[in-house]
């Protein structure tokens, strides 16, 4: 990649940060926004129709929590995905923004309306004191529910787009993403998952707001029974949807995976993931089923802590689900177009022939010599490996080679060099090494040095950048290249 490399050595290059921010965002967005808004709107409507101020007040108090969380952590983690991706994979986000501009632009418009609507809805709640005003107020809730679902529907298209194999780089069209075979099952799964976890969130929150008698809440016990009985229904219905769409997704994944994988084979890790997803989906559904059925019986059958079990299962399932997308993308960051280290498919052979160092901007040397070999290797590591691997930390290269070559004996440099050149064929989730033989050798020299003397590799954010002058020779083509 031709950007200064932001790099956090201890955190697998820092990718973990994107994952952390994104996971937090999804965990707030799904239950609290997509799931909770329609349920809360429905409560407000029901309270209005049946003249139940206690139900309205309960909806208001839960909305307060939702409002605070979504407009702070929710909104900022959404922006945070973008800010962190800009640091760790500017080549990918930069390319996606150029291709998917209209998707992102409409996403922005929907997001503006979502933020405006949640503020309007919550902040005017208590001002809607006549039936006409209340009816208008409920409509704001409906609009908000639609907009927050639409935000998700759009972003799922963007996510699907990154995996669409082959086609988009010929047509580069927005609608390609929508026809991705994973789009509908993914959207359906997320929608019902959001409703399912959203109801459990409302249920959980209602424990805290139905404790004491007050003027607005004359019968807390009755109110809790009212809400738990209804939420149980939502849990049971959305559970069915989650299961059906989850299974559809589970069945659709291997097809897409096969299409993505250049050698048409499912790697062992993927098989693991696939099996685990099935098990997790099953157990999560059972956990929600138990809670849902229990809630149908009596609101007091399910204690507060018991709601945490399906919630944690849900978090686990969703985390696992999100990892699949990451995994299936490999070795691409944008399917059949750009590898996860930022190398384009169509420049790979060129770089393998000409060398990475010659065409990179932020490197110390352009020619490898015996003296600068390890230094060159470090730059090559930064260019070709650092977007996924750390040196000695999480997902570290030293750890990987130790697993292969042993901890207690010297590593065979020639073997390592051969391995690096061919690893994408045996480990199909790895991008091909995008440099010359000499550069693979320099990388091995760096790795050997790193093994002997483990040192944290600093990124451009602390070490700054070095710019070797561009080689003065004009770029050579294959035909003009002299035989070595």
């Amino acid at each position: 990649m031709d950007f200064p490399s932001y790099y956090l050595d201890h955190l697998a290059g820092g990718r973990l940060i994107i994952g952390l921010i994104a996971t937090l965002h999804v965990l707030i967005n799904h239950p609290l926004a997509v799931g909770a808004y329609p349920l809360l709107t429905w409560m407000e409507w029901w309270a209005h129709k049946n003249n139940r101020p206690d139900v309205d007040h309960l909806a208001y108090r839960i909305t307060f929590v939702v409002f605070i969380v979504t407009t702070t952590v929710g909104a900022m983690t959404g922006v945070g995905i973008w800010l962190s991706t800009s640091l760790f994979a500017p080549f990918a986000i930069g390319s996606l923004l150029r291709v998917f501009f209209w998707g992102w632009f409409s996403e922005w418009l929907v997001f503006i309306s979502e933020v405006a609507l949640i503020m309007w809805w919550f902040l005017t709640w208590k001002k809607a004191d006549t039936p006409e005003k209340k009816r208008k107020h409920i409509k704001i809730g409906v609009a908000l529910s639609i907009m927050s679902w639409l935000t998700m529907a759009l972003i799922v298209a963007v996510l699907g787009f990154m995996m669409k194999p082959g086609e988009w780089n010929q047509t580069r069209a927005f609608w390609d993403a929508m026809t991705n075979p994973l789009y509908l099952p993914q959207l359906g799964f997320r929608t019902f998952f959001a409703l399912m976890t959203g109801s459990v969130f409302l249920w959980f929150a209602s424990f805290f707001f139905t404790k004491k008698k007050s003027a607005l809440n004359p019968d807390p016990r009755g109110l809790r029974e009212w809400i738990v009985y209804r939420l149980s229904h939502v849990v049971l219905i959305s559970l069915l949807g989650t299961f059906l769409f989850g299974t559809w997704y589970w069945n659709a994944v291997p097809e897409t995976m096969k299409a993505n994988s250049s050698v048409a084979l499912l790697t062992q890790e993927f098989m693991n993931w696939h099996g685990q997803f099935q098990t997790l989906l099953g157990w999560t559904i059972i956990a929600f089923l138990v809670v849902g059925i229990g809630g149908l019986g009596s609101s007091f059958m399910i204690p507060r802590w018991a709601l945490l079990i399906p919630s944690f299962m849900g978090i686990w399932l969703l985390g696992h689900f999100e990892r699949a997308r990451e995994f299936m993308r490999k070795p691409w960051v944008i399917g059949e177009y750009m590898y996860s280290n930022g190398v384009h498919k169509d420049e790979l052979a060129f770089l393998q022939s000409e060398g990475l160092l010659k065409h990179a901007t932020y490197v110390k040397h352009r020619e490898i010599t015996e003296a600068n070999k390890a230094e060159c290797g470090q730059d090559i590591f930064m260019l070709a490996c650092s977007r996924c691997h750390s040196t000695t930390g999480l997902n570290g290269v030293i750890e990987k080679f130790t697993a292969m070559y042993g901890a207690d004996k010297p590593w065979d440099s020639a073997g390592m060099q051969l391995f690096i050149k061919g690893m994408h064929q045996t480990r199909t989730f790895m991008p091909p090494f995008p440099g010359t033989d000499a550069e693979a050798g320099a990388l091995v020299a760096y790795l050997q040095q790193l093994r002997a003397n483990p040192q944290t590799l600093p990124g451009a954010q602390s070490a700054g950048i070095v710019i070797a002058p561009e080689t003065t020779k004009p770029a050579m083509t294959a035909a003009a290249q002299p035989k070595r």
Binding site: D2, F3, S5, I68, T71, T72, A75, M76, T77, V79, W82, L83, S84, S86, L87, P90, F91, I93, G94, L97, R98, V99, F101, W104, F111, I112, A116, L123, V263, Q268, D346, A349, F350, S353, H359, T361, A403, M404, Y405, D412, G415, M416, L418, F419, G422, T426, R427, G459, A460, Q461, S462, G464, I465, I467, P469, E470, A475, T477, A478, A479
Partner: protein, 440 residues
Amino acid sequence: MNALLANTPIPRDLPLPLPVPEWVLVVCLVVFFLVHILFVNLMVGGSVFVVIAEWMGLKNKRWDALAHEIAQTVTVNKSLAVVMGIGPLLCINLLYTMQWYSANALTGHAWLLIVPLVIVAFLLTYLHKYTWDTWTSGGKKTLHQLIGIAAMLLFFFIPLIFLANVNLMMFPSEWEKVRGFFSSLSIGNVLPRYLHFMAASIAMTGLFLAGWFGRKNADLSHLDAFTRPELRRLFYKVCAYVTLGQFVLGPLLLFTLPSVGITTQVYVIIFSGAAVGLLTVLVLFGELKRDDTRIGSRYWLIVALFSFVVLGMGSGRHVYREAALAGHKAAIKDRTERYAAAVAEFNKNLAAAPAPAEQSAEQLFMNCAACHAPNVKLVGPPLTEIAQIYAGNPDGIVTWAKAPGKKRPELPQMPPMIHLGEANLRKLAELMLEKGAAAK
């Protein structure tokens, strides 16, 4: 166009065209950015007003009530500031891909810190707002004030991170000197820009609040110790005097700008903006002289004049950036094109070259050699051992290589080699047996 210094990095751009014509993005960038910065101004300035008014409220309760009312606007404006920031961020990412992401990376830790810092600042503003009526006296009130101050200080710091990036991206010849966020502050003229921004925040919030509390249907029931004209006058005054101060801070910013982007056009635009600004200040002071019945009648005229000033400054700022980066952008374009041409030429020759001859068993063995050596155990068993197990049974090796299992607990599992094809695997198996026998 300015000549580029030798140590200016000229990276290769992403080989994708802009999705919309460049001028559309430029218009969007300038306009959306001004909308964004307006709400940022109201958020930052509002937090200052809240802190000061709450402190004054210790002596006279009416200021406390005013602070509370202002605090209600801050929490709304802060959400709009975030959401309206996405559009300009989208545009700047597209228009200045190579400069913007590079500046982000060079100030990386601070850039990433934006996320938690903004979350904390927002949570503090909510805490401040929703505890107003409960934490009213003694230590609790002090704590309440401290929360307001903490939120304000965070709002002071966060814009500095954005400013550092917006500034750093314009001076690629300086990038080599940068060692993290704090060192980036010494490049360009961050401090004068920051002061100009802070003053604008106060002035704009003054103008906003004069209109907000001064509007006909404003609910002033919580502010019964103030009259509407009194509030109008108060906030007009803040706006007028701080804007007057901008006639010192503005030139300070302009004359400390690195000369690289200064053109006649920049001066013309900025000075025209300043001229309208002067007119605006005159109208503002004229308004202040009016009596209570008439103050505020020129509000929308003042807003319109300010809009022209801000549009002028925003455009001037863009013209400066374009001029400062003209050479860099041209050099990047040139390098990107040269690179693309070289790649295309290479790929053309590659496609024209005769298909590679069938690989010999020795060449294919490269796929195995990283793990299997003649007689030492590397990652997998040595060839001698393999030759022993599969003596006279090359098909056994082929079957295994197509779908390997896990036999040895101490070694990693072998990945499948089915992609090499049955015929190649067969050739390899024979070679392995041969090599294994020879190495004994």
